[in-house]
């Protein structure tokens, strides 16, 4: 036995390579849960605060570690994937091939619903992906339970339906119709007629804020609080009519795409746009946001799809060759684009930008109106002119749902409870801002650290010296006169001085106050007689 014991001890000392790998993996996961860097405690002078914050940071670290471990070990399901061997390409795999390989439950998610009379169809899913709302252009509204493919309610409003949107759960939905938009209950009863907004082109619901945002035909953006019906904001965008509107789920900012190629971002508390980006030379046809809020995809009519980094407002990638009528990001970051009768899914598998992942050609003549990934499922919903379809896109959805965030298996009791909690946690419209992590943080002091006068002067000296010591190029005959050279040099020095305008101005202002007569010289002639004479 002793031999064995020794052996055991020996084995304890060696850390298996397997374990090291796990450590590395866990560390990477931890980073996600730490939500950014910890506070810099070194600069703190208050010892008590320092220890308090240090212990809190430690707690954050611990909880991040626990969460990472939970993610590693305890999550019940793993993400879907599509792997090919050898020369096979993922985008060559057809839905029929997939159908053969997947289990029955998944293959049930491949279908086409052909409704040729009332299309094209717009789609919307609830946050849990359990329910789908389809709105046909010619007035057909259908609410479907996706779990058991049950048609809950189907109504015909007998007028144009431009867009549909679920409110906070499957109990209510809004439809933008010919003249007004309406809110319906799950059983198809009309609850409200929203007359204030005019003929609405696009409707979006901001979940955390309970705001129903809409843009109407004359380019006005409206925010209405659905809890008490107040119009929170009505903004004239002044960019003309548009039907490209999307909400950034990360911060609740609404983006509009305009015919001039600009994308503007709005919040309800200001009349001016937060951001105005010139994304395309021609009209913007679609906008979509990555769920983490850092990526935006836009499509222009000039057959380009661009992906933008919203932290720097910089273009990350341009995909040439097609324009998308509709774009949609999945929870795992796949980008679906619908053009004509063709749906393409782009994926960022290698980290080097989005590239082809899967494609799905519809029957010729079908016009794709809207693509939307079903949350928590590997399913892409496609609304088109002949009804709607659903295809499998492995690896698009988040495999593990959180019962308290969005539960596809929610019971009615849980739903009611959830509704109350949602209302309790309802955010005021002021919380919509570009960087929502600023909420609850300290505002940095307004006062900038101004360099002292001496420092500015020293800097100026250096700049002037540098300007003086610039070697002049030898120019051709006639242009190399000493007078011209000195003039040029003087100019350089002047320019160097000009970069420190504050100092100059201050000097002048000081002089002015002392002398007082220059002020008279600057007055308009009609007022000169009132200037003080001395």
């Amino acid at each position: 036995m002793e031999v064995a014991l020794e052996d055991n001890n020996l084995m304890e000392k060696v850390l298996p390579p397997d374990e090291q790998e796990i450590d590395v993996e866990l560390e990477a996961k931890e980073k996600k849960y730490l939500r950014g860097e910890g506070a810099n405690l070194e600069s703190l002078k208050d010892k008590k605060l320092k220890t308090q914050l240090a212990s809190r940071e430690k707690l954050y670290g611990k909880s991040a570690k626990a969460a990472a471990k939970i993610e590693k070990w305890l999550l019940p399901a793993s993400a879907g994937y599509l792997e090919t061997e050898g020369l096979e390409k993922t985008w060559r795999i057809k839905q029929t091939d997939i159908a053969k390989e997947v289990d029955l439950l998944s293959s049930r998610n491949q279908y086409d619903i052909v409704l040729p009379d009332f299309g094209p169809y717009k789609l919307d899913f609830t946050a849990s992906g359990r329910h789908m709302l389809a709105g046909g252009r010619k007035g057909h509204l259908a609410l479907v339970d996706m779990m058991n493919m049950n048609l809950i309610k189907e109504i015909h409003v007998r007028e144009t339906v431009r867009d549909v949107a679920f409110l906070h759960n499957d109990q209510f939905f809004a439809a933008a119709q010919k003249k007004y938009s309406y809110i319906y209950a799950r059983d198809g009863t009309e609850l409200h007629c929203l007359k204030e907004r005019g003929p609405v082109a696009r409707l979006r619901f901001l979940k955390n804020h309970f705001l129903l945002a809409s843009v109407n035909k004359i380019g006005q953006l409206h925010y209405q609080d659905v809890t008490y019906g107040d119009m929170v904001a009505s903004i004239r965008t002044g960019k003309g009519r548009t039907d490209v509107m999307e909400v950034n789920p990360y911060n609740g900012v609404v983006a509009l795409g305009h015919s001039g190629g600009t994308v503007t971002m709005w919040k309800p508390t200001s009349q001016a746009p937060l951001v105005q980006m010139q994304c395309h030379p021609g009209p913007v046809s679609a906008v979509a946001f990555h769920p983490n809020g850092h990526l935006m995809a836009t499509s222009g009519k000039e057959r380009k799809v661009k992906i933008w980094d919203l932290r720097k407002f910089e273009e990350v990638q341009t995909i040439h060759g097609f324009h998308a009528k509709t774009l949609s990001f999945s929870q795992k970051g796949l980008l679906a684009a619908g053009t004509g009768s063709f749906v393409q899914v782009l994926g960022d598998s290698s980290g080097g930008g989005h590239s082809r992942y899967m494609s799905h050609p519809m029957v010729k003549g079908y016009q794709v109106e809207k693509v939307m990934f079903r949350p928590y499922e590997d399913v892409l919903g496609i609304g088109h002119s002949m009804g709607w379809s659903s295809v499998l896109i492995p690896g698009s959805g988040e495999p593990n749902f959180d019962s308290w965030v969005a539960n596809p298996f929610e019971t009615s009791k849980q739903r009611r409870e959830k509704e109350v909690h949602l209302l309790l946690d309802k955010l005021p419209p002021e919380t919509i801002m570009l960087d929502p992590s600023k909420i609850g943080a300290m505002r940095p002091s307004r006062r900038k650290e101004k360099p002292t006068r001496g420092e500015i002067e020293a800097e100026k000296e250096v700049a002037i010296e540098a300007a003086k010591s610039v070697e002049m190029k030898k120019k051709t005959k006639g242009r190399n006169k000493p007078s011209k050279r000195t003039k040029k040099k003087k100019e350089l020095v002047e320019n160097a001085k000009k970069t420190f305008p504050e100092l100059e101005e201050k000097n002048i202002a000081g002089k002015k106050r002392r002398i007082g007569e220059d002020a008279a010289a600057e007055l308009p002639t009609s007022l000169k007689r009132f200037a003080r004479k001395n």
Partner: protein, 754 residues
Amino acid sequence: MQTYTKVFLCGTWGQYYPVTFCISSTYFRFKRHVFSSQCLFPSRGEIVSSWTNSLVVIYWFIAPVWDLDQIFDESSFSLIGESITSLIVEYHLRTNRTWMFCVVGVFPWLVRHDSLLSPISSSKESLVLWNKRRNLKPPWLWGLIWTSYSFKNLIWTIVSSLRQGDWVTSLLDNRRKDGLVMRRHVVEDDEIATKHVISCSGSVWNGQRCNRWIVPPDLLSDEWCWITMDDSQTQDHIRPRTTTIENVSESVYSAIELGSIVLLFLYHHVQLKNVFVVCFYSAHLKQHKSKLHHLSKTSQSLGIKTISRSVDEFTRERSQDLQRVFHNFDPSLRPMEKAVEYQRALTAAKLEKIFARPFVGAMDGHRDGISCMAKNPNYLKGIFSASMDGDIRLWDIATRRTVCQFPGHQGAVRGLTVSTDGNVLVSCGTDCNVRLWSVPRPSLEDSDLSSEKSTEVPSAVYTCKNALLAVDHQFEGDLFATAGAQLDIWNHNRSQPVQSFTSGSHSVISVRFNPGEPDILATSSGDNHISIYDIRMSSAARKILMRTKTNSIAWNPMEPMNFTAANEDGNCYSFDGRKNEEAKCVHKDHVSAVMDIDFSPTGREFVTGSYDRSVRIFPYNGGHSREIYHTKRMQRVFCVKYSSDATYVISGSDDTNLRLWKAKASEQLGVILPREQKKHEYNEAVKNRYKHLPEIKRIVRHRHLPKPIYKAKAESRAMNDAKRRKDERRKAHSAPGTVVTESHRTRRIIKEVE
């Protein structure tokens, strides 16, 4: 967190030992009828778990007993049951639920040929394991199984280490007398693969749930078999990706050589799906050894997995079950979480204000102002109070009624204290008497006590020369001290003081024994002194001279070197008893003299009662009060006490009433469900996180003050500001260093006398 996994392992072994294991998080049991008929004796159940990224290892050991007369033992049921639960616990904690590795070892041969023989001893490691089965730390390296059993002269040990690439299994046995023989075999990972022989789920096995595995009864009669099963949560489609059988480990063969049967349950994750592998090795496997090697692997070309959730997996089975809850802590699922959290903090702060109802009730009965109170250290519900007319009462806090009345003193009672054992009540008053009362025992039927107001007679009366102003009992001793013209130390049994201390012409106002050192006490006297005495010495050990009188002193029960003095100037001063030249903290908020002070038993807070008709609660290290309690009817507060469970505060005031307050104004009293408790904790945490933000700070800090206090505060603030301004100006206009601003902590202290 609960994951609801059901693993049904049903093994039928020949004709004789049907063994059924049901492992489930909701319930577990051995099918009783099976056991009772076959009389299996599960002697050892071992759970050996490994923390590798892929496997939990369960070692299950069963020795059958052939004696048919033996009745199955209940304790072994529970033993097994417990081990199963612990299996589930570990299973939850450590692994992704799709990973499991299970070894089942059965040793019939030993039983058959060496008569009835169960393992005599198992090695130390497994014993440790058994004892610490709820301990979460595995006592060995991750990925290593170490089990050993001895049968008479045989030690059977399997050392298996599971790593990515290899699976090393060693067998030690001392069957031969020449010592231990170790055999080691390395198996490549892909060698441990599966063979899809029978699908035991769903479609094949009459619509059972696929996570229920049933081993066909003819399996073991076939001598060996491999089964793979699918756990992809779908009933209908089982497509194992690889189909291979290789030799798993030599240990198995060695075990076979011994004549034993080893059942191996492997839960192996292959690329496509989770496949459950059950490997049966029987004793007669030898001749089939070669067969094992022949099976080769095949694989399919396309690797696809999609999310598919069967409703059964995610919903409860029966309406009595709890709803299943799944968590995913990914921040990207919760956009704007910080804003939401801030909103919750705001709501929590508002709710706290709404639920702030601190006043529980008043206890009236005295006919004059309450002068002093005493807690019964031995009985939570009892509190003694005494009034200016000489009446002493014992109250029951729960019913808020007088339980017992003591005839008391001729004049005002000024001091009241209870011995640490809670048997003797000592009172003193202006009639120069010290009276000792025996405290009535609290009976089980409280209603009896409260209905009949019993009156007691003093067990002893001691008289001294001067009026007495305070009394306090020693902790864990039978001495008590009275304060009057002098400080007297008394014994319960003597009519004369044991010891007396005199200092100056002024009387001693208050006295308090140190809770840590029984011989040390602190007093305050009319000549503005705070003195610390050691009763083993003849004079005061230390004295602090302050500008104003100290009305009462309380020692911090958790840090017994620190005490807090309630001063006439409306402030409380916390001192370190060892370092008296400056106060550790000045607690300001009262606008009039602080009359009494009492520490919470937690030592983190203290309560003060003041002449300004309010009661305040201060943190022990905070400059300002956290709470103010007042009512329109409450007059000058003369005495306050913190209840011994730190949940209530009792104040006695001039209006002849005792008042009962909650220590935390918005605390929910009564039984709190765990979920409520969690919610309260969460609210507290978010409030604490955002407490520095102006909106929340304002709500949390705001207290309504009665008009006189509000005005007095404003006035004193104006005065203080003016004074500070004046001092600043004086300082600015005098030569540097001539005017020294004294800190608040030393301003009111004149000097410290050794």
